[in-house]
């Protein structure tokens, strides 16, 4: 017996709601049957996404899959329930992260050259601990320095699906007449 479309949608909804991490489409597909599972899934996700517009939770796709989340617009009003505020990210963390995001793979020395100041091992360790960056193997240079890149967890954290979703904040860099720095 084939489950009705309604039942399938309920199942997908339940699966995403009950998962602790974003659920990849491939996983959701395991709940469907039939040759057109992919089309079916896309249709269901689209329906769900529309259904949850303007509600207390929203359905979004981030780098590692689909998740329900409380939209950013509601978080401030929920503050009375969550008195503990997460700390702001420091400038050095944000700048280092931005450089890695746009210039990966990149070594620590290259980050330092861009920032004009030493990058402490703690900053790199902090980013690695948060699993926002990962080692991409050593660069073929004397000393074989490690190269870093951003992870899916980084994209998930900032509500992004791919690196291409990073806004083109650096675009003007390409049109500048200033010669690019050789490192």
């Amino acid at each position: 017996m084939n489950p009705s479309e309604d039942e399938t949608q309920q199942l997908i909804e339940a699966a995403i709601f009950s998962a602790l991490e974003p659920v990849p489409s491939g996983q959701l597909m395991r709940l469907l049957s039939g040759a057109d599972a992919e089309t079916q899934l896309a249709h269901i996700l689209n329906t769900l996404q529309q259904h949850y517009q303007g509600r207390g939770v929203e359905l979004v796709q981030v780098a590692s899959g689909w998740r329900f989340q409380v939209p950013a617009s509601l978080a401030p009003a929920l503050a009375p329930l969550y008195p503990e505020k997460p700390k702001r990210l420091s400038r050095v963390i944000l700048e280092t992260l931005a450089i890695i995001a746009y210039r990966q793979p990149i070594t620590r020395a290259e980050i330092e050259a861009l920032r004009g100041v030493a990058v402490s091992a703690e900053v790199i360790k902090n980013l690695l601990d948060r699993q926002w960056i990962c080692s991409l193997g050593p660069k073929e240079l004397p000393g074989r320095p490690m190269q870093y890149g951003t992870s899916d967890a980084f994209l998930n954290y900032f509500n992004l699906q791919t690196l291409a979703d990073l806004p083109h904040w650096l675009q003007e860099n390409e049109n500048t007449e200033i010669p690019k720095l050789d490192h």
């Binding site: 009950s18 602790l20 904040w169």
Partner: protein, 272 residues
């Protein structure tokens, strides 16, 4: 406008929060240590000076900027603030640019071997500095934008939904024959150690029966029915063992079988 990305107090000096950056470079010495921490290195400080005086980054008045930068560094030094080496390197670099700008353009300068009107930024001693400042400024802005993205668990809250227990079809790890073998060995060993009395060997062994059957069938050279292979005294167990042994022999190809409606007939294959 201040472009420095700070909303909270910049620093606490003598118990007083500093909401604004200093109005000019002559800062009370005790505030300098705090200011140094506010800057993310010499590029950051330079950008601050450029913005503060509303200067064009593409046409930096190196003289005044250098002067201000040095004044700042000097003030820090007076206040015995430990300066990061990068600030001093930048100071030296600024002075070098300044002195190069004072030199008349020379024909031997490898950078200006081109046309007369080639007064582009490539030949400008400031070019590299400007490029670095522009590049760093972009990453500063990118960092601000990144911070403006919604943050998980701060601006976007995770959703938790209770999931009732899910009945599972248990999967089993595969077992290999050698595991049975070693269990059997261990068991034999255990029994050998524990046993007090020797017991008569088992009545029927499929393995032994296989040997007996094969011998008999080879002597016979002819078809025998299954019934003929049985002994009444062995009872049901005998039937089972004989049948099992026969199956084994057929499987191993020592015996061929023919099944009629009446009976099962078997005979030994001729040995090659």
């Amino acid at each position: 406008m201040t472009l420095l990305p700070s909303i909270k107090p910049l620093a606490i000096v003598n118990g007083q929060p500093w909401q604004k950056l200093p109005k000019d470079l002559y800062i009370p010495p005790e505030a300098l240590a705090v200011c140094l921490e506010q800057f993310e290195g010499p590029l950051d400080l330079l950008l601050y000076l450029i913005r503060k005086h509303n200067l064009d980054i593409l046409d930096i008045p190196v003289f005044s900027v250098t002067q201000q930068y040095l004044a700042y560094i000097h003030a820090m030094d007076t206040a015995r603030v430990e300066l990061a080496a990068e600030y001093l390197v930048m100071a030296a670099y600024l002075v070098e640019i300044k002195s190069r700008l004072l030199l008349p353009p020379s024909a031997e300068d490898p950078g200006s071997s081109g046309a007369e009107d080639d007064h582009n930024i490539d030949n400008d001693p400031r070019a590299e500095l400007v490029a670095r400042l522009l590049e760093y400024q972009q990453f500063q802005q990118a960092a601000l934008h990144l911070d403006a993205q919604p943050h998980w668990q701060r601006d976007l809250l995770p959703v938790y939904v209770f999931l009732p227990p899910i009945p599972q079809q248990t999967q089993w790890l595969p077992v290999a024959a050698h595991e049975l073998g070693s269990l059997w060995s261990a068991l034999c060993e255990r029994n050998r150690v524990n046993t007090q009395h020797i017991i008569q060997p088992e009545r029927f062994s499929t393995q032994a029966r296989m040997g007996q059957l094969l011998q008999r069938l080879r002597q016979q050279h002819n078809w025998l029915s299954f019934i003929q292979l049985l002994k009444a005294c062995e009872g049901r167990a005998g039937v089972v063992v004989t049948f099992l042994a026969l199956l084994e022999l057929i499987k191993e190809g020592h015996v061929e079988a023919e099944h009629t409606t009446q009976t099962l007939a078997v005979r030994a294959h001729e040995p090659l």
